[in-house]
């Protein structure tokens, strides 16, 4: 039910209870009951304001009668068949969300005053380019070193196995020394990779469209995206592109904005340093 309708219904009930509690003659019901009806009406008045925005929260709290209230426990989206949008399904309505990357890397240090004015105006025009709702984002993302870190870890593990085999097989000392040197090199490399987190600045536009089928929603979103690509490309002279596949996850999931292995290594290095 619409929050506004709910608010009005509750307010009318509250008003009726307040008036009923106050005007009904004491000869018909005891004063205590009258007062109780009056107070319930008053409390409903206070709650009606809350219902304007929190009906979803309150209904689920009452229904679940638990301190851990589940508003939604489903995966909020799934990837479209073409892997170029994410889809949110709400009963028979589909919402497709498309992400457009703007490859814009300009710094004010290399601009003259007139270029700064022009750039500021372009940003203003970018934001006001369409009548449709759009989200313009610029942000800093941790550079994903997960694959690189995994590769180094595999190399360390291989070198450790080699060293262990050589130790048990009575291999020449020079060979063991060489393997130990390799192991030390990979360990140092892992240490260097983890010594600082590298960042990547990305700017992108998010747009959504609704449809009765997934295909319809994606088609409309893609059509809108083309308009945004054309507008943004003309403004800044850069080729914006639609983001596809798992690259989309970087913009919506925290573990892709801060890649898991990169962060885990960095945290464990921090802990080791604190212990030392």
């Amino acid at each position: 039910m619409n929050n506004l309708v709910l608010f009005m219904i509750m307010l009318i009930i509250a008003f009726a209870l307040v008036v009923f509690g106050a005007v009904i003659p004491s000869s018909q019901i005891p004063v205590a009951i009258k007062l109780l009806i009056f107070i319930i009406g008053l409390m409903l008045t206070g709650l009606s304001v809350l219902m304007r925005y929190y009906s979803e929260f309150i209904f689920k709290m009452v229904k679940q009668r638990s301190k851990s209230v589940v508003l939604d426990d489903s995966v909020p989206y799934y990837m479209s068949t073409g892997k170029d949008a994410i889809i949110l399904r709400n009963e028979d309505e589909y919402t497709a969300t498309v992400f457009i990357k703007i490859p814009l890397y300009r710094s004010s240090t290399e601009m003259k005053d007139i270029e700064k004015i022009e750039f500021s105006n372009l940003v203003g025009r970018l934001i006001g380019q369409s009548k449709d709702i759009a989200k313009y984002t610029t942000g800093l993302f941790v550079l994903n070193k997960d694959l690189y870190i995994q590769q180094i870890r595999n190399n360390i593990s291989e070198a450790e196995n080699e060293e262990s085999d050589m130790n048990s097989g009575n291999a020449p000392k020079e060979k063991i020394g060489r393997v130990r040197g390799k192991l030390s090199m990979w360990r140092n490399m892992l240490d260097t990779v983890n010594s600082s987190i590298s960042f990547d600045q990305v700017s992108y536009i998010t747009i959504s469209s609704k449809g009765t089928t997934e295909f319809e929603a994606v088609s409309i979103a893609q059509q809108k995206a083309k308009e945004f690509i054309s507008g943004t490309g003309t403004l800044f002279g850069v080729p914006p592109t639609i983001i596809t596949g798992t690259d989309i996850l970087k913009f919506i999931e925290p573990e892709y904005q801060l890649p898991y292995s990169t962060m885990a290594e960095s945290i464990s290095k921090g802990i080791k340093e604190e212990m030392i």
Partner: protein, 277 residues
């Protein structure tokens, strides 16, 4: 800022409280006293929930120890100011801050030189502010184009009203100089907005906010890091003419959902979020 729509709802609700106060005289003695106490309590409830629900509701839920799961693997923390996600032993905490950088209220009054100076300083100020942020963050501007004709009609209506007030004031026997200047200032602002629309500028409504994510080995560690990241953002952007406020409760839930899908109309955005300007 409290919008007109919100004030109308409050007015309706407070009317019930006023009627209750009028009718409370039907209770005598101790019953009257109890009725008055509950009238005051409900008035406080109405004003608290109506004007500061985003602060009051999280405090209430935090006191009751209630937590909300907002999606699979995602939940709000007890203070309802961050979204928590656990991935393989690491905890990610995401917080939001509204940051409307475009305080256009008096922009129409500034001279062209002042305007140009702001445009020149903008990119450098921005780079200086973000260069201090050595952690992941996102700066989001949700924008929607408004109906040009509708905005123009609204502005014309407002200008006519101000001109009518000015004329009435000038006809009065003792027109106040300050009041006249104030009305003239309002007319200039409205006229400047109309001129900008006539020059082809599209009127837009915006919602501007920062999002930052912190990671830790526990929820507490992640939340502590998040707090320090949010303080850094506030410090970096303190030199801008910007109002920064932490997003809590239902607005946090709405912004979280907006990562996956955007509302399709302005009315829906305004209905869900108070801070659209």
């Amino acid at each position: 800022m409290v919008d007109v729509e919100k004030l109308i709802y409050l007015m309706f609700t407070l009317m019930v409280i006023v009627i209750a106060f009028t009718l409370s005289s039907s209770f005598k003695g101790i019953a009257n006293f109890i009725a008055l106490i509950f009238i005051i309590l409900s008035a406080v409830m109405v004003l608290g929930f109506g004007l500061g629900d985003t602060f009051v509701f999280p405090i209430l839920m935090s006191t009751l120890g209630v937590t909300f799961t907002v999606a699979k693997d995602n939940s709000m923390n007890k203070k309802e100011d961050a979204i928590i996600k656990n991935v393989g032993g690491l905890t990610y905490a995401t917080g939001f801050i509204t940051a409307n950088l475009f305080q256009y209220t008096f922009k129409e009054e500034v001279t062209q030189q002042e305007d140009e100076m702001k445009l020149i300083q903008g990119p450098s100020n921005w780079e200086r502010a973000i260069s201090a942020l050595k952690f992941p963050w996102k700066y989001n501007i949700v924008s929607v184009g408004l109906d040009v004709q509708k905005v123009r009609d609204d502005l014309e209506g407002k200008r006519s009203f101000q001109q009518f007030q000015l004329a009435r004031l000038m006809q009065s026997s003792n027109p106040g100089q300050n009041a006249m200047e104030e009305i003239q200032r309002n007319i200039n602002i409205i006229q400047a907005k109309m001129d900008r629309i006539s020059q082809g500028e599209r009127p837009i409504a915006t919602l501007v906010y920062f999002e930052t994510t912190a990671v830790g080995v526990s929820e507490k560690a992640a939340l502590d890091t998040l707090e320090s990241q949010i303080s850094s953002i506030s410090t970096s952007f303190s030199s801008f003419d910007v109002q920064l406020s932490r997003i809590t409760g239902r607005e946090l839930y709405i912004l979280f959902k907006m990562n996956f899908s955007m509302p399709d109309t302005l009315s829906k955005l305004e209905e869900e979020f108070d801070k659209v300007s």
